[in-house]
Amino acid sequence: MPEPQPIPAAPPLVEISDLRFRRGGRWLFDGIDLSVHRGEVVAVMGPSGTGKTTLLRLIGGQLRAHSGSVQVIGEAVGSLGRRSLYALRRRMGVLFQSGALFTDLDCFDNVAFPLREHTALPEPLIRHIVLMKLEAVGLRGARGLYPAELSGGMARRVSLARALALDPELILYDEPFAGQDPISMGALMKLIRQLNDALGLTSIVVSHDVEETLEIADRVYVISQGQVMGVGTPDELRRRGSEWVQQFLGGLADGPVPFHYPAPSLSEDFGGGAS
């Protein structure tokens, strides 16, 4: 069924090796390796709180690793100066979990924002590009609406249009499906895949929505407790993943992943009162 992935000759677009990152006294990442090749849609999955958002921030250079390296488009993100970091960021787009739209600008101006900041294009051309990007996400008609007037799914699509405004090579999605109704979920899934293939992008999708993510991803990394628990195509993982991965992908309540956060025993909390 699944053809073996051809090994691309070009170096990966994103390469993370032996990444260690600490947050609040514990190692959020304790030696993670991850690589993303040009043209791929790679999903990074894991339970909430494993540090998926943190991983995107490390890739975007908003956080710096304590050790190990993060290479993005041939640059070591952790050691870039401000100017080169900003130059690198112009080549990637990020879709924040919240959308992060500018609440005081309407959709049109939100999408136009990066163009106006980074280019000296004349206004008619900007209008052209903005409407094209909005059309790509199906919201050309919503150009005059303010973020407060959009549904969650629409806001995320506008945010996607904005992330695409500067024609990035790499696009990072933080939980694109969280809290979406089935219809906008389907629309977003299709969009992510189509945009990736049509525009020749490379996408990293961070998510804990198993079904949707497995459907659009070329390869999947499952991360937990600071480690990569499994990596492969969706099919490989489903069929040959470890017990842990099976539990996570299958959404089984019982297994190696405890359902309960570590807690004092029940009798201590509920029974008998103070001793």
Partner: protein
């Protein structure tokens, strides 16, 4: 006892690091504000919201403070038969002290709190982080124009406050209390010096502008990105600005006038 001591130490340490962060932040913003020359539109928009929208409260307060000053000054002066010096008294109080100080306090309440809340909310809703990832530096794009606008607006507002205060005192003095209008102006002209009084007042209000603007934007930028964090930061802006302005005013007065 040990616990107290430790708390004191921790408090001092965190206050010091906050101050350090604030200084570094100011340096970065100031260094980045050069770009505003190429984008005057950004600055103008902030000048409007920081300056023009504060005008109403400044005008009304200036008039009323001047009128009260006129009344009180007259009651005191008239006992010594010196009511013709009302203009001098009012002008000196306003240019040296009340103009810069009251304007800065009003500014903190009207514009400083708004700056903090706006920047803090942008942070809480990830708009600043989003901007960073679009390769737009929020310190230059968002903070710098607001800080510069505050620096420019406060001295202007203080001047307006002072002028209207004098007008208020004049109106009360001449129409209500029977002070001679000519004496009001001529004594003022003779006794108020440009270098000693007007210029020093202006320097004061510029320094207050630095303090008020800096405290406002830093509190917004440094707030906890939650609703409570933003509300605390807003309150802190008003409280800290007021205290700093009053403290700074004492020091400046001691240095400037003898």
């Amino acid at each position: 006892m040990i616990v107290r001591l430790r708390q004191l130490g921790a408090g001092t340490l965190s206050a010091t690091t906050t101050l350090g962060r604030a200084v570094l932040f100011l340096l970065r913003v100031v260094r980045g504000s050069g770009e505003l020359i190429h984008r005057p539109g950004l600055l103008l928009r902030e000048l409007y919201s920081v300056g023009v929208l504060t005008l109403v409260i400044i005008i009304v307060s200036g008039l009323f403070v001047g009128m009260v000053l006129g009344l009180q000054g007259y009651y005191t002066l008239v006992d010594f038969g010196a009511e013709q010096s009302l203009g001098v008294l009012v002008a000196l109080s306003l240019t040296r002290e009340l103009g810069p100080v009251v304007t800065a306090l009003l500014f903190a309440g009207r514009a400083g709190s708004a700056l903090t809340a706006e920047i803090g909310l942008m942070k809480a809703t990830e708009q600043l982080a989003g901007m960073e990832m679009m390769a737009v530096d929020p310190e230059r794009r968002v903070v710098a124009p607001r800080l510069v606008a505050a620096l420019l607006a406060l001295p202007l507002l203080a001047m307006i406050f002072t002028l209207l205060g004098i007008v208020g005192a004049y109106l009360v003095g001449t129409s209500l209390l029977g002070v001679d209008g000519g004496a009001f102006w001529s004594q003022m002209q003779a006794q108020v010096s440009f270098e000693d009084d007007v210029l020093n007042g202006l320097i004061k209000s510029m320094l207050f502008g630095v303090a008020a603007g800096w405290i406002a934007v830093f509190n917004g930028y440094d707030c906890q990105p939650t609703s409570r964090g933003v509300s605390r930061a807003t309150t802190r802006t008003v409280v800290v600005t007021s205290l700093v302005v009053l403290g700074l005013d004492f020091v400046l007065t001691a240095l400037m006038f003898d």
